[in-house]
């Protein structure tokens, strides 16, 4: 039985712009199974539908069609069991200003009918570096600390399936490391983890399998190692002081002075360097590196460039 299952799930919202009654198709027939014990990454540009998928999974949104289940429990018909099995760390940095950290965690345990949960709460606080903040009011915490509490709140009921929606957005290196160590430990103990992130190096390091989403559709789904294999094997990277000619720029990924070309073999690399020289430019700090998940991601997104967000919108 899959830990998380999406079957032909579609979801549309009223369009923020456009004629009255028009809708925006956020998910377009998504089907996806995540097995128990997996560390699964859900990647995609902003507006691709990642958070919509998580919202439907968590019962915060309802799909227009299709079926979603957690460990076999339908998220609509059997919502109580589905939600008991699920721990969700929301993307937004939200908190209840009336309570201390420990109170918030005790209350969250209580919602799930769990009494005397202090031993596990202490373990969570300790693993997330929050022990000295246990009696601080939520309002007094920094953004990073509030993020840690969100993680703890999602885990108070020891859910077998953990969902993290961009948990490291805007947080410092120390928290990222603490968080990933802890989540990896839980994954080793058998918890299934679903992660969305914009930090592709994190996804590459942590996720065994990855789905890429674009305009509400799954455009790539495979083991991380297979995705990496399928990409251009190497990347030529160098710096230039002037602008590249358009014919070269169209093939490159340019970040400020840094230029990167996906390249399959030595000949291709030589050709690029020759073309740069012919354009009268000098390439500095030339290096050739192995393609990473970011390159795969950009390849996949370029391949599906034509499916623009919202174009599949239909009139209700």
């Amino acid at each position: 039985m899959p830990a998380i299952s999406f079957q032909s799930v579609s979801k549309s919202y009223p369009a923020p712009r456009g004629p009255k009654g028009s809708t925006f198709l956020a998910l377009d027939g998504v089907s996806l199974d995540i097995e128990e014990g997996e560390f699964f990454g859900l990647l995609g540009p902003n507006g691709a539908g990642k958070t919509t998928m998580i919202s439907i999974l968590a019962g915060l949104s309802r799909a227009n069609s299709g079926r979603v289940s957690v460990l076999g429990h339908d998220v609509q018909r059997d919502y109580a069991q589905a939600r008991r099995s699920l721990g969700v760390v929301p993307q937004e940095l939200v908190f209840d200003p009336f309570f201390t950290v420990r109170e918030a965690l005790r209350i969250q345990s209580g919602y799930f009918g769990i009494k005397n949960n202090d031993a596990w709460i202490d373990e969570l606080l300790s693993n997330l570096g929050l022990l000295d903040k246990a009696n601080a009011n939520m309002r007094q915490l920094s953004g990073g600390m509030k993020r840690r509490v969100l993680v703890a709140q999602a885990l108070v009921h020891k859910p077998p399936v953990i969902v993290l929606d961009e948990p490291t957005a805007g947080v410092d290196v120390e928290l990222r490391q603490t968080l990933w160590q802890f989540i990896a430990k839980l994954n080793k103990q058998g918890h299934t983890v679903l992660l969305t992130t914009h930090y592709l190096e994190e996804a590459e390091a942590l996720c065994g399998r990855i789905a890429m989403l674009k305009s509400g559709r799954v455009v790539a789904l495979d083991h991380t190692s297979e995705l990496l294999k399928a990409a251009s094997s190497n990347v030529l990277r160098f710096k230039v002081d002037s602008e590249l000619p358009k014919v070269l720029a169209d093939k490159a990924r340019i970040t400020g002075r840094i230029v990167q070309f996906p390249a399959h073999d030595a000949l291709e690399i030589e050709n690029y360097l020759a073309a740069v020289r012919e354009a009268g430019l000098v390439a500095h700090d030339v290096e050739i590196r192995k393609a990473d998940l970011e390159d795969v991601f950009l390849d996949v997104m370029t391949l599906h460039k034509d499916s623009k967000a919202g174009t599949s919108g239909v009139t209700a």
């Binding site: 019962g59 915060l60 919502y79 209840d96 918030a104 209350i107």
Partner: protein, 251 residues
Amino acid sequence: MSGWQTLLYKEVLRFWKVGFQTVGAPVLTAVMYMLIFGHVLQDQVKVYGQVSYTAFLVPGLVMMSILQNAFANSSSSLIQSKIMGSLVFVLLTPLSHWHWFLAYVGSSVVRGLLVGTGVFAVTVFFGQPGFVAPLWILVFAILGAAMLGALGVIAGLWSEKFEQMAAFQNFVIMPMTFLSGVFYSIHSLPPFWQKVSHLNPFFYMIDGFRHGFFGISDVSPWLSLGIVGSAMLIVSAIAVNMLRTGYKIRH
């Protein structure tokens, strides 16, 4: 504690932590009303022929405070947590719409009764009403608080901004409580306005509540019970249905 009891506890703790504002302030407001209206009208108005105006005013002020604070509790909690986003912590739980209803309405009843007791404790020195039928007092206090708690759930779910909530409070709740006979017996009104008052369910809450103190009322307490009970059922059915469908909270 089970899940819904925890939500009830959390909702009580929420207002208790700011008790100065949620319990203290309405008690002070009621004292102000009593000082001003009681002072001005004490010697000029007798109600039901023999009851002094201040004694008549005490149950009215108590009930008005119960109703307004019960409404404020569920409505402000919902709108605040919706706007701040912290409602997600409850949305992610296995609690059913009935659990939500019990917890939000239950905490509204607790706050309503707490404020009502506070108002009674400080206003009773100005004019002592009797305790002719204490059971009626309790029944109408609880029913009134529960109905306004449920109305607060509706308003809290419906409102998207604090302005909408303020409009609901100022243009619906305030007029209905003020025009329900808190400060006067409707028998002192012209016949047309007496009839209009009979269309206001809040009138029956206050009238039935007052019956418990004096044994006298504008209409029979059984009629009041029937009307308040029916209104409570209708409002609750709407609130429960909004929670069941996740009105404006589950998209």
